[in-house]
Symmetry: C2
Subunit: 189 residues, 2 copies
DNA sequence: GTCTATAGGCCGATAGAC
DNA sequence: GTCTATCGGCCTATAGAC
């Protein structure tokens, strides 16, 4: 069937994506990917003529974290407390997956070429700008709004890397709202 | 000379450590390490009978981040502002290297066995407890002190991963004192 | 302790039949 | 499009001479 054919490439991509994230690019062989999909290496090379490296590029593209939805969901809040509560809620719902991707991009950063790095960096700059725009409602100095946006971003990502990627949650028994929430509780805004 | 002989093992270790951090464990071959040291593979296997895996274990041990010095340096501060300023100063001085190691441990987490993971996690729990103890001077609720310690840790590590490991500093042009300092500026402590 | 030589395996990639 | 078969190369690791 035609749809089977069309989907075959996507299937390879999603399997490769999972294995790359699980074991890392260098530790994953084309053989393993082909086996997991249930095709031969030769078939895989038919779909990805650029070989393993093209596979990586395709995974980069489709696994790139996207923060647009987070900003959109929290755009209409009228107080700082409501805004941060909304961000925290989003983080608890979808942050785990985003943080796993972030960890992978970070660990594979050495395998990216300058262009690919730029794209990933640009995503974060974009998020920072959007968040800063939201914060300007509650902060007089736009410079402060920008720095606060970066700080909040650091706080969330720091939590994600320590407690989820490093699995410290299994040792310490805290929740995002405890750690991030307490910092925010002490902020005069 | 005897000292040459004693140091040979350490030399291999430091070269391996650098290559592992630069390219990752899986992407670094024993051949490359031996070449970089200037010995043959066979000589390397004489010093590390457990092969590549033993090399990794040894690197884990000697590259493990240690926060003791940070806590000691900032232990005598009398206000929250002084304490955070001291932490920020330490971070600017030695944080870059610590954060590079953190990034590496994070990216190689899948290659660690449960025991090794525990040791790394334990280091962070220890730091958190020490920092919480310092914060109890300025915060009434010990529970809040603990959560604030975790939050501050998240903030610093988040900054390090985003702006240094991801090299966002080259795109955004901020400094740790801008981002972390602004968050702290808005805290009522 | 360090070397040379080599075993044995998995790697990425391709040719050519169907 | 998918297969079988295969190539040359690099990998980890070891045996044995010096």
């Amino acid at each position: 069937m035609s749809s089977d054919r069309v989907n075959r490439r996507d299937l390879i991509l999603s399997v490769a994506s999972e294995l790359f994230r699980e074991r890392g690019y260098d530790a994953t062989s084309v053989r393993e990917i082909a086996d997991a999909v249930g095709v031969t290496e030769a078939a895989l090379y038919y779909h990805f003529k650029g070989g393993k490296r093209e596979l990586l590029e395709a995974v980069f593209e489709c696994e790139m974290p996207d923060f647009k939805r987070v900003i959109e969901t929290c755009a209409d809040k009228e107080t700082f407390a409501e805004l941060t509560a909304c961000l925290l809620r989003q983080f608890k719902e979808t942050g785990r997956e985003t943080m796993e991707r972030f960890r992978w991009f970070l660990s594979e950063f050495a395998n990216l070429n300058p262009d690919e790095r730029r794209i990933f960096q640009q995503r974060h700059v974009e998020f920072q700008k959007n968040l800063a725009a939201l914060l300007e409602q509650f902060v007089d100095d736009p410079r402060d709004a920008r720095f606060l946006a970066l700080g909040i971003m650091s706080l969330f990502i720091g939590y994600g890397q320590i407690f989820w990627a490093l699995d410290l949650e299994s040792v310490v028994d805290v929740q995002p709202e405890d750690v991030i929430g307490t910092i925010i509780k002490y902020m005069k805004l």
